[in-house]
């Protein structure tokens, strides 16, 4: 039985590895990611954003919600040194100096890794700057401190986040070389359904034996 379980686990790992999707943002000319690995289920979009605290009637929301700012200009990329933010990291970078940037997934994603590099300057908001991950109900799942006052600050972190719908980069800095690894599709692929069924079957079999 142990042998069967090992084979099933290995198969699942291989399947999972094959399904991982990496969204790489070089911000050379826009905020469109290069996608490698599996294809992303749904779409991802980027926009300048604000945090909404009240509903249409002016009543407080149960949870503040990041929303695309429809009055803001389109996402801009540019040379950080043109704004005095140090030499470029690799050409252009995402300009989030004046406003937070919201990445929205049309379908919730499971995030297994995140990487990001900040501009080469000490200019930046000196407190409370976090990259934040939210689910579809605007519950904060996780946050990562990005110190904008440290020149070239970078993050490269393994995560285990389920059902991420929004990723927010805080305002106050330029960002470059962002990478999001989507661990598995939110809508399982057929091969994964089969493997999950096998897991379930084995689990039931083991419980009966016990």
């Amino acid at each position: 039985m142990k042998k069967i379980l090992s084979i099933v686990a290995l198969a699942a790992m291989c399947a999972s590895s094959q399904a991982a999707t990496v969204l790489s943002y070089s911000f050379t000319s826009d905020a469109t990611p290069a996608v490698s690995g599996g294809s992303l289920v749904g779409t991802v979009s980027a926009a300048y954003a604000y945090i909404e605290t009240v509903d249409a009637n002016g009543d407080p929301l149960s949870l503040p919600s990041f929303r695309p700012d429809l009055t803001a200009p389109a996402i801009a990329v540019g040379d950080p040194s043109a704004r005095g933010y140090g030499a470029p990291i690799s050409g252009n970078a995402l300009d989030a100096v004046d406003q937070a940037v919201l990445f929205s997934f049309s379908a919730p994603q499971d995030i297994s890794a995140f990487a990001l590099t900040l501009d080469n300057s000490t200019i930046g908001t000196p407190f409370g700057t976090n990259v934040e991950f939210y689910d579809s109900q605007d519950a904060l799942l996780y946050s990562i401190l990005v110190d904008q006052t440290v020149s070239g600050f970078s993050v490269n972190q393994a995560l285990s986040l389920m059902g991420v719908s929004k990723v927010v980069l805080p305002s106050g800095a330029f960002y470059d070389n962002a990478s999001l690894t989507v661990a598995a599709s939110a809508v399982p692929e057929p091969s994964r359904v089969l493997l999950m069924g096998l897991f379930a079957g084995v689990a039931v079999f083991r419980r009966r034996r016990a």
């Binding site: 604000y50 945090i51 043109a82 704004r83 004046d98 406003q99 407190f127 409370g128 006052t149 106050g172």
Partner: protein, 641 residues
């Protein structure tokens, strides 16, 4: 029984010790930042001192030691944790009379909330003095929207509600119950009411009245950029980081300061300088270059006050008052070493022969001595110094009169020496051109200074004229904001001046007024229906053709001193109201004559604030003047929808 006696003995000994300590124990007599907790043992809001997350400020305590004793160590604790000073940024200084001043410079705290500050000072006989205060770190909502890239503070010095109304009546007119047109200020969509008290009085002067907008904190009258201490040194007070410095280091913004006053004057200096003496002439102007250019990204400085910039030896021309002060001798500056270390500033020096204009030019500033100099700018300049008068600039009433007829030079003015002084709107235009070159935006303070100065002087025609000039500067900024939507415009004052009231209108023509007997001048004031609608004519240059119209607007002064009133414009500039028109006017008695009240005075009345652009919506309701700082900084740091 034995036990009882021993208990009494111990109690007596303990009491004697306590009594001894009560008479011979060091005490903390001051703790900065100021707090109601330290001063009144009141731990409830409002908290007197409030800072942005990561905004720097100094911790300071004055300790009265026992006679002949010294204070050997001082520990400041915030929420129970000892504060560690940066290298060289702390000091314990004997200040005479067995008093000691202890400082930690450049402290900051990034976590919002109320913090308890405790100081423990140890005397050389191991007795310990303790003081407890508090301060608040404000909460800024990050990512609340797009940031205000540019922030423009327009301060009509001394401008209350009535000053605005008077400017509207004269420049726009009113008929059939409605104003014919709004002032530019009136078109700003948000209005609030500001409470203006200073740290030590309900009536503020211009130093704390502007300091509050630049630092978010209260100051004593006469002081700017600092909290009060107990030393005579005007440069060692506990500092608070200015808005310009904070936004320079965190956002790369530039700072601009534009005034029709001497640039050494309180309002302009309160946006970049740190001193307990608002009149510390040369030192203030040196500090603009030595500290503000380096640490606040000061890129524009315009106004009067050339005398502070010229070397005393006359090598750069006559007219220098360098190494002096408008309030007391010895205005140049040298800061102590802990300030240097804590704030990354140079020591300063007493340098009477410094050519400060040349030093500004060496630092990359374009220098304009007059309007022609401003107009000669190529458009590529990124730093601008304009010094258009030796002291305060002449007022628009006299500048316009001279422009219309070059032979018209008001006695008492410096028009003859400085015939080509720009108007505030022209200075504003150039400042915007320079500052808008920074992709990271700017903070600019624009002051209409002589609305206040001429209201002090109860020279109605001159302050109304300057209020109109100020409104034209506002119009320039509104046009800029329309083209640059991420700009926040705040139009307000530092305080009300003179208790202005628009009492009514003259019931006679100007000719009749001139022929009215002195004894009857009081009777020409028409009130209610008889005030009617005074009508002025505006010339092509945008200013009244004359202020001496028939049936003119009549102004009363509640914060007045004695004056001789004729209800007509004074041909001379800056003549004391007690020396002016003594034979042609009737005496209106005011406050007791004495120091500070030979002219009309500031009042504690609330002042209006108008705002437009990014983040303006927050400036509504009735709020403290320090609140305006935090509202603006929310827009600049956290953004606004």
């Amino acid at each position: 029984m034995k036990l009882q006696n021993s208990g009494k003995f111990i109690a007596v000994i303990t009491g004697l010790f306590a009594l001894g300590n009560a008479f011979a124990a060091p005490t903390v007599t001051r703790l900065n930042p100021p707090s109601a907790l330290f001063t009144y043992a009141d731990a409830t809001p409002p908290y007197i001192s409030r800072f942005l997350p990561a905004q720097r400020f100094d911790l300071q305590a004055t300790i009265q030691a026992d006679a002949g004793k010294t204070i050997t160590s001082v520990v400041f604790k915030v929420n129970g944790s000892p504060v560690t000073a940066a290298s060289g940024a702390s000091a314990i200084t004997s200040i005479g009379g067995d008093k000691f001043s202890a400082t930690i410079r450049g402290y900051s705290n990034s976590t919002a909330g109320v913090k308890t500050l405790v100081v423990e000072a140890t005397q050389n006989d191991s007795l310990v003095a303790t003081g407890t205060g508090n301060f608040e770190i404000a909460s800024i909502t990050l990512n609340a929207g797009r940031k205000a890239k540019n922030i423009i503070w327009l301060i009509g010095d001394g401008t209350g509600i009535a000053h605005r109304t008077a400017a509207r009546i004269v420049s726009k007119g009113a008929s059939l119950g409605k104003s014919n047109d709004p002032l530019a200020i009136d078109t700003l969509p948000v209005t609030g009411i500001v409470v203006t008290h200073s740290l030590n009085s309900i009536v503020t002067d211009s130093a704390p009245g502007a300091h509050c907008y630049s630092t978010g904190n209260k100051a004593n009258n006469g002081q700017e950029g600092v909290f009060p201490d107990d030393t005579t040194d005007k440069w060692d007070n506990p500092r608070i980081e200015h808005m310009g410095s904070y936004l320079a280091r965190t956002q790369g913004k530039w700072l601009g300061i534009v005034s029709t006053a001497d640039v050494e004057d309180a309002t302009p200096a309160a946006f970049a300088v740190s001193t307990q003496d608002r009149g510390a002439g040369t030192g203030i102007c040196d500090m603009y270059l030595d500290e503000a250019v380096a640490n606040h990204n000061l890129h524009v400085l315009m106004g009067g006050g050339r005398k502070w910039f010229l070397p005393l030896d006359g090598s750069a021309g006559a007219g220098s008052g360098r190494v002096n002060s408008s309030t007391s001798g010895g205005g140049d500056y040298v800061v102590p070493s802990d300030v240097q270390a804590g704030w990354s500033v140079p020591a300063g020096s007493v340098d009477p022969n410094r050519n400060l204009i040349a030093d500004f030019q060496t630092a990359g500033f374009y220098y304009a001595p007059d309007l022609a100099g401003l107009n000669a700018m190529t458009g590529s300049e990124t730093k601008l110094l304009g010094l258009f008068n030796s002291g305060h600039m002449d007022v628009s009433y006299d500048k316009i009169a001279h422009r219309r007829n070059s032979a018209t030079i008001a006695p008492g003015s410096l028009i003859a020496t400085y015939p080509d002084q720009p108007l505030l709107e022209e200075m504003t235009d150039k400042a915007l051109t320079v500052l808008s070159k920074n992709a990271n935006g700017f903070v600019m303070m624009i002051e209409g200074a002589s609305i206040d100065k001429q209201a002090h002087n109860m020279d109605t025609e001159r302050w109304v004229h300057d209020a109109i000039e100020f409104d034209k500067a506002v119009a320039k900024c509104i046009a800029f904001q329309v083209a640059n939507p991420d700009t926040l415009i705040i139009v307000t004052a530092d305080h009300e001046c003179a208790g202005i009231a628009i009492s009514g209108g003259s019931t006679v023509t100007d000719a009749a007024l001139q022929s009215t007997a002195v004894g009857s001048l009081k009777g020409i004031v028409g009130t209610y229906d008889n005030a009617k609608f005074p009508a002025y004519t505006i010339a092509g240059d945008g200013y009244p053709t004359t202020m001496d119209v028939d049936y003119r607007m009549i102004i009363g002064y509640a914060g007045n001193s004695d004056r001789y009133e004729t209800w007509r414009s004074s041909p001379s500039y800056n003549v004391s109201p007690q020396a002016r028109n003594t034979t042609t006017g009737y005496l209106v008695t005011g406050q007791q004559a004495g120091t500070g009240v030979q002219s009309a005075v500031h009042t504690a009345s609330d002042i209006p604030l108008s705002a437009g652009g990014r983040g303006a919506a927050a400036f509504t309701g009735v709020f403290d003047n320090t609140d305006a700082f935090f509202k603006a900084m929310q827009a600049a740091i956290g953004g606004a929808k």
